[in-house]
Symmetry: D2
Subunit: 380 residues, 4 copies
């Protein structure tokens, strides 16, 4: 039980940095049931992988993920590569008996995601677990939101409205990076940030999106290539969709990278029969809570989610001290290790990640079909 | 020119009270180009009309609008009745050479609205003008928003997101009033509050909604009748739709009477290539303005729209003193009288009101057609 | 009982406009126990008084307040002149058996205010009442705040922090009007806006300020005279003081006309043993309420004070519709007329106004005495 | 130059945890000019020190700070003990040629702080540096605020208003810990949180507080002892003071642990001739900036201080990703190491810390002297 959990991380970009911070911090602030060791980081370029190991605190580096996945002395593979390689690595790692943490979106296509979820389900029967990295679930205010809804504090959910607004593409001269090319990125705002709000709404409401009607839009068709000249943007700048929730509610979603003035505004508001909750990632330590039962002085309560009784908070600093973006990654690692130790499937599972992929695919199908209502379950 | 403008008001419910306050206040705070007199208020019940005259400050009362419209000594007819009677009254009044102010929504059906717009267009050629009562256009912050967009302060408009959120139907035991019955109310949240956000987005962006995809929902199917027993709710509780703007932008709309904790939250945010603006009617004296050009200290500016240079404000109180809901009605009357005196069509015209009706009708058609994209111009 | 209450208003500047709006509106929205008639407005310049009568709705005008006060057919005198003339008019009117409404500050000196309060006390024994025009008490959110404190909703009051922040003197080239000259204005920010926060704190906490320590400051010593040249500023730009409350609490006050970016920010926060309330006049329809008893989801509730159960609100518009600056004046008139009819002293009385004057005078004495603690009761 | 900087930390409570996080993170996110090693943590209880070393990442532990300070292989001593021991440790460490980082408040008495500042000044001449741990200076929004003021963006500073509001003592039954006993804690809210707002105002304005007038208050005189029974509270619950700034401005300060509903509200607003800035630690990633030059759309800009051009931000995450409470500690360590490498005195120096102590002592002297204006320079 107290054997060390040896971790390998594949990829060391932005997400690799965030995951490394999580692995370093988890044992410093939380009582993990099992020690972890940051054994190896993997990157295609051996020199850059070596530098990443030094900077991020991994004991060693490697350049071939297949070799690493095959090693007997690795217990968990943390996948931080672009979406196009997720399926191959995850399926191999699970087959090799490694636990897997995989960044979102689970894959670039539904069929890849299906393969991953199948592999995960099979592995789980052997006590080997896979988790999708929707880290925002573990922002304390969002976890608290889900707890409140589950306990019935806002009654039955009727409506959800969710937005993820950024503005880094408002400038028509912003360069055409790989994120704006379909073959590499899969999709644009839809998959990158739309995925987060689909997961958040499903997590907080405890319901799934079953049917969608939506549209996507590319406002700037051509952009300067980093290499010179101009190229065609092949992904969406914004995606707008409406979804039916499995519990009978309605949800609206907007993902945009052209919402001038909004930097990282993942927002949602859930309206229930007895109250409501609202959240904004640009003010991530607070949760707004409304209850009709408050009567004459009912109003959205601005709850600073920094009290010891709030999820995850006690492990960090005294009451009233704010956490940042990165802390959710630590909570994710903590819950993953705890799940592994208890032999319980950590959430979001690959199945959860697959469903988000199906929703995104259904939005694209609806957009291609005159915005008609489109079944999520039928996404392939 | 300085002859008195003699006004008759038909209907004296909530809107009649607000319009009366406007007629009383306009000459006290603004220099009208022509004196106005509040000659007669009309209501079916003679006794209640008499009381309304006394309470609201009309010189006399009457119970037959047809007689009043036929009077030679009336110059302007202000229609504050439910939507089902708008067309008949307005068309008759215009035919009789009276200027008309008509509450929104212009009518309960597109065909009625078409008749009204045709009559108004014909009358305008004779110098007789009709105006639709989308009073929120004249909340100073909204007028300022439109001014800023027209002047290019936020660049080219790409996206609009608009909501009108209320919660008075969250309670499933709230009674089944006439507003929840289709034959009297036309539609539910869609026509009542959705109409306002369609007009607001069109007004502020200076563009029209040309195509929509939408859905409506009734969450509570049966409610207690005021008379006892239960009856079927035949209008929507919420309407969600996406629209294409004539200038190439995309807009999203939500109208809901079940958004727990929101009382009168008419909100919009317009994202442009150079900045953005945002507004919330629950904080109606402020406008949020974002400009990329602010550089390092760019951020939404919370502009208190209470300075003498702001629209309409100088007529009221010194800088920093807040206005309320009712003041927009006064501004509406002021602009109407000024338009009449100048011989210029006041906006929103009946044509503007008709287009909003077409949008609402297109939403219902889309909702009935699997949420498909639906042309607004084809609404009949 | 139902005899008309005939009103004379002395002065017709900014306050005269606001009071006129109140007299006009009160009977339209509230059921007054007695009809009121706006009989005469008085101004030194006969021509301008005539114009004021026409604009503001008074039946006639006059230029000599003494004659008007002596008239048998006047029941109530509403004093809207500068502070230096309050005492003479009010004492004469009360002696003549007229009810009096007097704008704040009650007088320019404590001794004048004492004479007024004495006259009012004597008159009250004859059923003739005097009221000081601290109109902000009747902003619904402030009235609600006082109600909540009185009912013990925030427990025992420990601290109050109050600010009245404006910025119209930030510009060192703003002109030297009469408001910046001691002989006319009495004092600067202290008397003009500091008076409001002293009254607000006393009203909401139900306690009086008994002892103060304070300082005042003139940041810009010379300003351009409207007539050309430059003159010396002889009043304070800002006043800062701490006060002990009669119930054992501590209060801090700041009045400044140089708080850049703040236009009319009358703010207070009251901390009690069980909770707290906070208010800002720049967002006057909301009240922030905190209660420890809310437990895990405790946070300041943003209460939109626009529901029918809230003070004064039901008389106006449906739920969720905002009121503005001017509405408090109407509530003031309503309560005054009701008090007169019931034979009950309306608050704030002249005695209440006198105490505020004593507090302001004590602040100036403390400022002149090295900021030492200074007894309010000893102000003369 | 690239020799390792070997660090010893004395004390491992809340501040020790925060400093450890800083030492661990600094080299992972910033390019330090010199590698650092976390060599030893010191605590009186050897067993607990050992545990702290393991948890916080120190290579070893020790129980006698004198021995550690005497070691040749230690370059820097980081003092995280209670204030009463700061002077002895810091003076010894500086004498031994160690750089020193010392938590605030610098000492419990002015005379101790003087000794420390003298020692630091002497050491600085030898290239050995001491720094006071006012970490909030390095919250990016506060650093940006100071930058903006220094660049003249808000003009000349006239007024500062600062508050540090907490509510953990609102409950009269909260226990009587060492923090509430004068002999151990020195003072209450004044020294603990008041110190922070004095430093913040001085840092952001670039001016010092020269004279103060203030009062302190203990609202709850007796509290339950953790050991049972009740004991007397010998420190203040709240401190209120006004200060004159060296540049001619006025500042107000409030420190309270009884501000119900406020958890960690370190707030300040600086009013200048050309604009203003405002900050709240409960929303620490944003800065409010007002500029008169914004004209018609002037209003406080809500700047999300998460852009690459903002202080410290580029080292962490992409734009729009929030930082938390702890990040300022990392920035502090980074600037300390850089200062040491460059041979430049890092700020705040011990002299800066001493001045804050003098201000606090002057407040207590003023409070004891009927709140009279009291010179800060004369504090001993």
């Amino acid at each position: 039980m107290s054997e060390v959990l040896r971790v390998a991380m594949i990829g060391h970009g932005f997400m690799g940095a965030a995951h490394s911070q999580a692995w370093r911090n988890a044992p410093r602030f939380f009582d993990l049931p099992r020690p972890v060791s940051m054994d190896v980081v993997v990157g295609r370029d051996a020199e850059r992988a070596r530098e990443a190991a030094a900077r991020y605190g991994w004991a060693s580096s490697a350049s071939d993920w297949r070799e690493v996945v095959a090693r007997d002395d690795i217990d968990l593979v943390d996948i931080c590569t672009p979406g196009s390689s997720h399926a191959e690595i995850a399926v191999a790692a699970l087959a090799a008996g490694k636990h897997v943490l995989c960044e979102k979106p689970l894959a670039n296509t539904v069929s890849e995601a299906v393969a991953m979820a199948d592999a995960a389900e099979e592995a789980a029967r052997r006590g080997v677990f896979a988790m999708t990295g929707f880290t925002y679930r573990r922002v304390p205010a969002i976890t608290l939101a889900a707890d409140l809804v589950r306990r019935g504090e806002i009654g039955e959910v009727r409506q959800a409205r969710a937005q993820y607004l950024q503005d880094w593409l408002s400038d028509a001269e912003a360069p055409l990076t790989w994120r704006l090319q379909r073959d590499e990125a899969g999709s644009g705002a839809l998959g990158d940030i739309g995925a987060h709000i689909v997961d958040a709404v499903q997590f907080v409401t405890g319901q799934t999106v079953t049917t969608v009607s939506g549209t996507t839009r590319t406002f700037v068709a051509e952009r300067p290539l980093p290499s010179g000249g101009r190229g065609e943007v092949s992904v969406d700048d914004a995606a707008l969709f409406t979804g039916k929730l499995s519990g009978g509610g309605l949800a609206t979603f907007e993902a945009s990278r052209m919402a001038s003035g909004r930097k990282n505004a993942l927002r949602f508001e859930i309206s229930g029969t007895a109250g409501a909750i609202a959240f904004d990632l640009e003010d991530l330590n607070t949760l707004q809570v409304f209850r009709f039962a408050d009567g004459e002085t009912a109003g959205f309560r601005r709850v600073l989610v920094t009290e010891p009784g709030h999820p995850y908070v006690a492990a960090w600093w005294p009451p009233g001290h704010l956490l940042g973006y990165e802390h959710g990654f630590t909570h994710q690692v903590v819950d993953l290790v705890r799940g592994i130790e208890k032999g319980e499937q950590p959430r979001p599972s690959f199945g959860d990640g697959l469903w988000v992929q199906r929703v995104l695919a259904a939005v694209e199908r609806s957009a291609a079909d005159d915005t008609r209502w489109t079944s999520v379950a039928e996404s392939r």
